[in-house]
Symmetry: C4
């Protein structure tokens, strides 16, 4: 077969996998976790086949632990980095030792990255070749990672022991580059079906907000700290000797100013006193305008999404009520309508039908088989028919719930469907001289309307539920079509039907 | 029938009910009120069958009154609890007596809960067994309920008469646990179709907002009250001897600060003066950021929902106008289009068709029978046919409204539908030599286009409404299908038609 | 015909009209203006048939002018009423004279209302009976209208010439009852298709905002004005002798405080100084929280609605680009796809298809007839056929636009549609030895693919547009169905086709 | 053919083009860039045919550069104009020289506009006639353009050298008229599919916000500058000698006040001190209320739109999980469902199907031909059949992806589709004595289910993927329809099938 020619036709159309059968299980896990080495939305059934000895699999649980540990270090860095920059001017070097340790871990990660295969974006293959891994890393984030790891503070101490240079401190800010790890973590988690979307989204927004507050507070303090006249600064105006105050009180004050500005509360007890602070305030407030809009936009999105189910249900119920009122339907029918709609929203999700529609035929057949096969097999009409017939039957069947006192079949109606009572209880009624009389009662597993459907007569009875009932439904045309294709089974059904009638 | 086997197949698929027929009426009520003992969206047709003597039915109206009374007490608790905590430091024990009475009621409720059956989440059965009731309660909220009911204040008085310990006061805050009752009440009301969704939602949001303001004001006052230097507190800075002021003025001031901060107005006349207050302010403002976004999100949701109908109508009308303008349709046709769209939005709800589609066939047949049977029976063409025939006919019929001066049938058009004029007036026009001449006039109950449909000829007349008319429509193919299945009725119709023609 | 019985069946189902034919024109006007005496969404084709002599038609243009004049007076009242209440304490009675004149007009309107027929909500009939008009008015708004019209100020002057009693002033506030007129005006305008929805909605929101600011400012000033210690008021703290200042400066200051609070700017230069002002501030800020959310919700609604068209277009184009890129479609096909989508969004509105679908068959036939009849008549294939045949044909036709260089028919494709080139230019190409050769060129009014469709052969040619072209399309099955029902016309077409082939 | 009569019928229905074939390429470019001389949404395939010698084509790249240059000048004007108005009171005339240069460029553009053809809104023709160009420009924006270009400042210097009149300055504000160019630029960019919608929209909002801040700051400074008592102004209250301060410090202070007010932070360190400032503050805050709502509305719109894909995917997955849990489906089927949904969202865009549906038939056939022709040709069943047959076949085919371990065909199921394995691997399984046994394995290019479909027998095998597979699907009814219309090809297929069976 001209495989090569076809490969030219669809080279990007779908990923090509040459790996073995075990990938199926792997795939599910990957789909659930959607690793950052994998594309976010499933479709990556891959078992790294023959990892070279010294390479580290990106799916190795120990590697996952290492990544989680680095995320924690990133969060620590994000908090300590602006703090050092602004507040820790004359402090001893204790925190900087901690800093160097953290830098060490990230340096190890840089080394490690050269030994972790990556997934090619086009073929979805795991690339094992160390050269390719190195080229890819060196040509992408390597330089940034190295810059954000160099311990500039310790280097500065080597050259000049007592200098607290702003330039070197500024270089420390490069460590915020590490935040891209958190950013990509959230991007992954948002698409991970194991976590609640709203929770992930809110956590992300809160993180961004807290980081913005922290950074803005620190920078604003730095501006005040460096200003020549301490009394003409936002903090010096209310705390004249603020430099002698404890770190805690200064940090809280800076945070207080920051959040007061971010939320646009703006008490005014702390406010810009000089042009530098005003300029920073202008930038920060512009950013806040954007951030606040973004927060509100996201919250609106979540609220609209979370209430859509209730809203749809209410719209439907209101539509039924209005329809009944406008057309003066009897109270009884209105109640039946409302009950049915309530029941439907209870038993079916919002997108169930849409979900079933996109599944391929074989999968829907499997589901039907798994759900209905044994019940249909038990019905008297299908006693003795081939399992092939029953399988074709269940594929076309649909389950429905009926609330109590609801009509399943109306007397004299044309027979359009065959019903199978899976559970519940149904009264069989006959209209005699204008009054309904109970003719019989159907229990679980019995068929309803089979005479009408098979003999093509108007329904002789009215069938009404007395309890909440589950019913399988198959349309007459589909049933007759299946019977026509399976002649012998049709004969068995006919004889089954005659035995009952007699 | 192998019922047991089937039960294994669908144990969770649907609730099983073994109760009697009377449940139908009960069900409706339950669906409407959606009690908190029942799942929120209907589907719970249940009459507690044989309640043991000493058990209290959760559907008992007296129990409902008791629950409502408790809700009121909860609201009182939610208001008094932070107030006591913050303001009532040196007050006499009068309010605490009231407190003990309230606690007593809740203690009674704890007792009572052991005698109220509950609904099993899986089977939707009411569980009568006192042991099971007790086990369920003891293993869930019992401990919390007890903790929130113990009168810690009175106990503290027993041990040490004059101490106003913060620890004991803090224990009083446990009473806020009772708020879960209000929370679950709102969750239920939102899904209750008897109440307006927007009203419930707004009430909930206002309640949350007021409670947040109340709590924040009280806590902020407590912080100031406990601060060693009264002049360095938010309230002391403007009211130096605030502790001597009346409760009312202090309470209003605290609330004023609270709402000023929540709405981010932030006048700045009252603001944090020390680190403790700043810390609390930071927390409160972060919470406000979330609360404000949530309020706006909900309001947007409600606005979007409430205007969707008007918006859809306007989109449709604009689309019609644009279409007419782009294609230079005659003024007359444009007017007809706009009138028809106006009429349609007037007579049909936004989701009417969708609602009808999800109803089962028998219910739709009932509705059609109830609405159309007598009109169709009266038509000359269906004189003498069996009621079975008419019933099958009405099931397939659809009602439509036509505004005045609208064409129902165009001369020479192929006959696709049979129309029955239910009410209104229709002119029958013939195009002779390019000019329309009035040939006749149809009154209520007459058929339109029956010659075209039954003889398969192009429509010989144009039918145009002269008044707002309601018309029943059945497609030709469905009509012929029904006639084919009922031969004798078909012959009657043929003879009816011939009698008129002659 | 048993009309009475049917009337019992649908008493509320549709409005009954007994008026004459002229109502058609009236209806259109009513639909456009949607008077407040009429239901908002069309469906009210009514000419007041025989108005009694002394009654005033609500459709009388003079009555409309009177109503508009009253709206202006209402706006004046809404502005002057809080102003009088708060600011005009020691002023001479000049504005009160103006007030009495305004009251006079409203008194006249109360009289007049007894002579204006109203539309019954159920039957949509105009009720002429003066008794019924009086009963309806007396039992609804009469009392409120009278209370809001009594000149309390003048009455108070009668009793006690120099008293400026708060109580009497408060009674003046009753005049705000008149605002319901403005409220109902906006409700009507929102559904009026002659006005832009966004503009009406914005105007409404701005009016509410301005009125809220005005009222709050006035009330806050009143509280300060009545406070015993002027220096302990919000205005007295910054303007110690504010009572001696001019009305203008006091009014501007009050408005400035009001808007500063509403927008939550809260500079803090003016702020509550005593418990009364704090209480009012609390209420106002709570209201603002709601109002701001409501404004944002409405604005979001308008923004989402106004950008939906552009967003849909962009989604579609992006989807086409992604599809082309993923499947590596040739550049040429991608361009054709993008051009076609651009063209489609240009030529068709967002809801055109949906709008056409809800129109009744006869109206769609009229539109098709009006648009396509003459073009189809001119095609060589339909020379000499009956106009009945062409009419049936055009009803099933659909217009489509093709951008230049787009294929209409592909060679060898199965013939599914017949095309009629309305305008533009089409090249007819044949694929010979792998190269396309121009076989012919079609001009306006020529048919494409008729040989394939009528002889049921695969398309012999490729047809490609060279200019922007409009094409009418009819599916093969529908065309053959119409031909089958009109045998003679079918023969004419066959001979027409043969003449060309030879 | 009666072309003229048809032209009367659809004069506005579509643009008429008389230009040559080369327009196809032109059209694409126009659609992509959507020039402001062209309608925004494509549909303008136009090559200016015979431009008169002295006219400048609006498509000339040099003209585009000139337009871009003018946009930059407009931005400069928008910034300098309010600045001059407010701050540059006693400055030397240096900036005014720059101003005159800018004015000069705009004067040139006014001249130029008389030589640039425009596109007629109705016919989409480029109008070449200089008279018509002049009439159109003179009757539209000419006067505004001239007014915004006259160098009022220089003129004022001619008359009175030392006067800095407010009146003349006010005339300079007319230059803001030029901003309409930026406004129309954004309107165009928003519809340009080459740019990201969110980016353009955000840029527009940021521009509007910055301009509002700049203008408000300048106007507020102007009011303070002109106020008689400098100490009673918002800036004079904190900077008593503000007029002696540098331009930079005054400008930053004004911007700081402006942004503090816009974001409703309102520290209160700078606030209105007199009625004039209060009035301006009232107006500015009202505008801010609108602007903030508008920003939030737009942000919400963008957030909702950008997250819709992820939300839809999550809804679908959650629906599948709920369905599986409610019906207790086996773990294996649930995994298959989730994998399939993941795969589908990965391989298909959100609107792919909708996009394909609106394409005309010939275009869809081209795409299918381009994607599937060679694969289908290679299948053993279609060896030797005419290419016409294969072309008709591929038009009806649909591509689907199956994740590993998913069933394509279930044994005993009725044959509804024929599958062609494009790539991947499929195991063919037979159920023997309740256990599945591997019967064979299908490689790329092989057919699945052909025996069932062509012989109309229940599927004899189960086909299950072992890798990610791409499969072409054609429904049995369409396949049989095509075979019936091509008898010879049907015979070839039959013999192909028999050869394999033997």
């Amino acid at each position: 077969m001209a495989r090569s020619s076809r490969m030219k036709l669809w080279p990007h159309c779908f990923p090509c996998f040459d790996d073995d059968d075990r990938s199926g299980n792997r795939f599910t896990a990957a789909c659930n976790f959607s690793d950052d080495l994998l594309p976010s939305l499933g479709a990556t059934a891959q078992q790294p086949p023959k990892l070279r000895k010294y390479l580290v699999s990106p799916y190795d649980p120990r590697y996952k632990v290492w990544e989680t540990f680095l995320i924690i270090l990133v969060v620590y860095s994000a908090w300590i980095c602006p703090l050092e920059f602004a507040f820790l001017r004359y402090l001893p070097s204790a925190p900087f030792v901690m800093d160097d340790v953290v830098n060490g871990f990230f340096a190890v990660d840089i080394m490690l990255t050269f030994f972790v295969p990556f997934v090619d974006k086009k073929s979805y293959h795991l690339v094992n070749d160390p050269k390719k891994i190195a080229i890819r890393y060196l040509s992408s984030w390597f330089l940034f990672d190295v810059c954000s790891t160099v311990p500039f503070h310790s280097i500065s101490l080597l050259f000049n022991k007592h200098e607290h240079d702003l330039g070197f401190k500024f270089l420390n800010v490069l460590r915020l580059w590490r935040l891209r790890r958190v950013s990509s973590l959230f991007a992954r988690l948002e698409k991970d079906i194991r976590f609640n979307y709203a929770v992930i989204r809110c956590t992300k927004l809160i993180s961004v907000t807290l980081f913005a507050i922290h950074c803005a507070g620190c920078i604003n303090y730095l501006i005040a700290d460096r200003y020549p006249d301490p009394r003409r600064t936002w903090i010096g105006a209310v705390m004249p000797n603020f430099r002698e105050d404890g770190l805690w009180i200064r940090y809280v004050t800076a945070m207080y100013w920051s959040i007061t500005t971010l939320t646009t509360t703006g008490y005014g007890d702390l406010h810009a006193e000089n042009a530098r602070e005003m300029l920073f305030g202008i930038c920060y407030m512009l950013f806040n305008l954007w951030l606040t809009s973004y927060l509100i936009g996201n919250m609106t999105n979540l609220v609209v999404h979370s209430t859509s189910r209730t809203r749809d249900f209410r719209d439907m119920v209101q539509s039924a009520s209005e329809f009944a009122a406008r057309n003066q339907l009897p109270q009884q029918i209105e109640e039946q309508m409302l009950n049915h709609i309530c029941l439907r929203y209870k038993t079916e999700g919002l997108k169930q039908q849409e979900m079933l529609d996109i599944l391929p035929r074989a999968m829907r057949a499997s589901i039907s088989h798994c759900l209905f096969f044994r019940v249909v097999q038990g019905a008297y009409l299908f006693k003795g028919v081939s399992s092939r017939f029953i399988q074709q039957l269940v594929t076309e069947m649909q389950a429905e719930y009926f609330s109590p006192r609801e009509n399943i079949i109306l007397q004299n109606d044309s027979p359009s469907d065959l019903y199978l009572l899976v559970s519940g209880a149904v009264d069989i009624l006959v209209l005699l001289d204008g009054a309904e009389q109970v003719y019989g009662r159907s229990a679980d597993g019995e068929l309803l309307g089979e005479i009408g459907v098979l003999c093509n007569k108007p329904q002789p009875f009215t069938c009404r539920t007395t309890k909440l009932s589950q019913i399988l439904r198959i349309s007459r045309s589909k049933l007759l079509g299946i019977i026509q294709e399976n002649r012998e089974d049709g004969n068995i059904i006919r004889s089954n039907l005659q035995q009952v009638d007699i």
